[in-house]
Amino acid sequence: MRTIIHDLDESYDSLFKSKNENVIRADGKYAPCQGCFGCWTKQPAQCYMKDKLQMVCRMIGKADELVIITDNYYGAYSPSVKNVLDRSIGVSTPFSTYRGKQMHHTLRYGKKKKLAVYAYGSMTEDESKTFRYMVERNAINYGFQEFEFHYLENLNRLEEMEL
């Protein structure tokens, strides 16, 4: 199963939805994570905040392929996309293990195939390096076996892509 997270407008949303079941439009109309860990310790895989991200970790957790399309913020995801990721730590459990020789949490939904990130907007060379590194780290953190990072010079390319 593939899940797409994107911060683009309605027209792209419809485009992705015409070919994919699980599309999360990161429109920023939700609250940021409050850092309480309740989605681990109180109501597993569920946030206490009742907005559209309350169960989002389940949709992300079940994806073997996660595609993220995001504006570039200093070599990181846009805040609305990052908000979705921050609110989805329920994809893992509170138990810890080693992955990539470092400490991480065990995965509620097991290992997954691929994390592919497409970033757009102006991007310096340093930001591009940071972004690639961040995606590599995220892939380990979320348990993806492979990762890809691409810079999208032109959003029109999305229409030609197999998304």
Binding site: Q43, Y74, D86, P94, D126, K129, M134
Partner: protein, 237 residues
């Protein structure tokens, strides 16, 4: 010289970030202001505070290998505000993650450096700390031990209470030494307006023991909060 400390943890109290900023602050002289950014409602106040500042010290938690989303929103607003008002700043940062390896904070530090470049700020360096939650536990233990020490002194006298307290103190402080050292070192650099590089440190405990402690910690919290009885590790549909 005005130095603004910006705590980027969303937690109202007992955030590790505020604790770490507190340690950096110990050695910082000049006009010091402490702010917290929890959501967009805080932006106006904090930006006003930055307006006549020379230095900003960020403190924030590591979220999913990077800067928490609400802080990215703030940084964008800060970029615009500082460009519009021609503000140039020196920027330092201390971040902490739950995982034991301090170097897991590296992408976050790079993002902050990129941010400084975009804003024409001087990136003066940061400290990335692993095992943040345990730092907090140590801080709480310190308070508990201090309380017990006072109680003990009253009931059995200082000579009996002091050796026990000293021993407890050494244990509690030892684990946090790396964090203390680099935070204090950053405080000194802030005073001089000097760069201090990007350093990573951690709770001084072997990682397998730390993982064991973290697992026990989450089991206890999950018993109290009830999550353990609600399909704690199961795959939710």
């Amino acid at each position: 010289m005005k130095i603004v400390f910006i705590n980027g943890s969303p937690k109202k109290k007992l955030s590790v970030s505020s604790y770490l900023l507190g340690i950096v602050r110990l050695l910082v002289r000049g006009k010091v202001v402490s702010e917290q950014v929890r959501n967009a409602g805080d932006h106006e106040r904090v930006l006003k505070s930055i307006k006549d500042a020379d230095t900003v010290v960020f403190g924030m938690p590591l979220y999913v290998d990077g800067v928490p989303s609400h802080m990215l929103v703030f940084m964008k607003a800060m970029e615009k505000f500082c460009m519009d008002n021609n503000i140039s700043l020196k920027v330092y940062a201390v971040s902490n993650g739950g995982f034991i390896e301090g170097c897991q904070n590296r992408p976050l530090m790079q993002v902050l450096e990129n941010f400084c470049k975009r804003c024409n700020f001087q990136w003066c360096g940061g400290v990335g700390i692993g095992g943040g939650v345990m730092l907090n536990v140590m801080r709480i233990m310190f308070l508990v031990y201090t309380g017990l020490f006072i109680l003990n002194t009253v009931t059995s006298g200082l000579t009996a209470a002091l050796p026990i307290f000293a021993e407890q103190l050494v244990v509690v402080l030892f684990f946090s030494l790396g964090a203390f050292f680099y935070c204090l070192r950053m405080g000194i650099a802030v005073n001089k307006g000097a760069t201090c590089g990007v350093k990573f440190t951690r709770i001084l405990l072997p990682s397998f023991l730390f993982i064991l402690a973290a697992d026990i910690f989450f089991v206890i919290i999950s018993i109290f909060q009830g999550g353990i009885f609600k399909g704690w590790l199961s795959q939710k549909e």
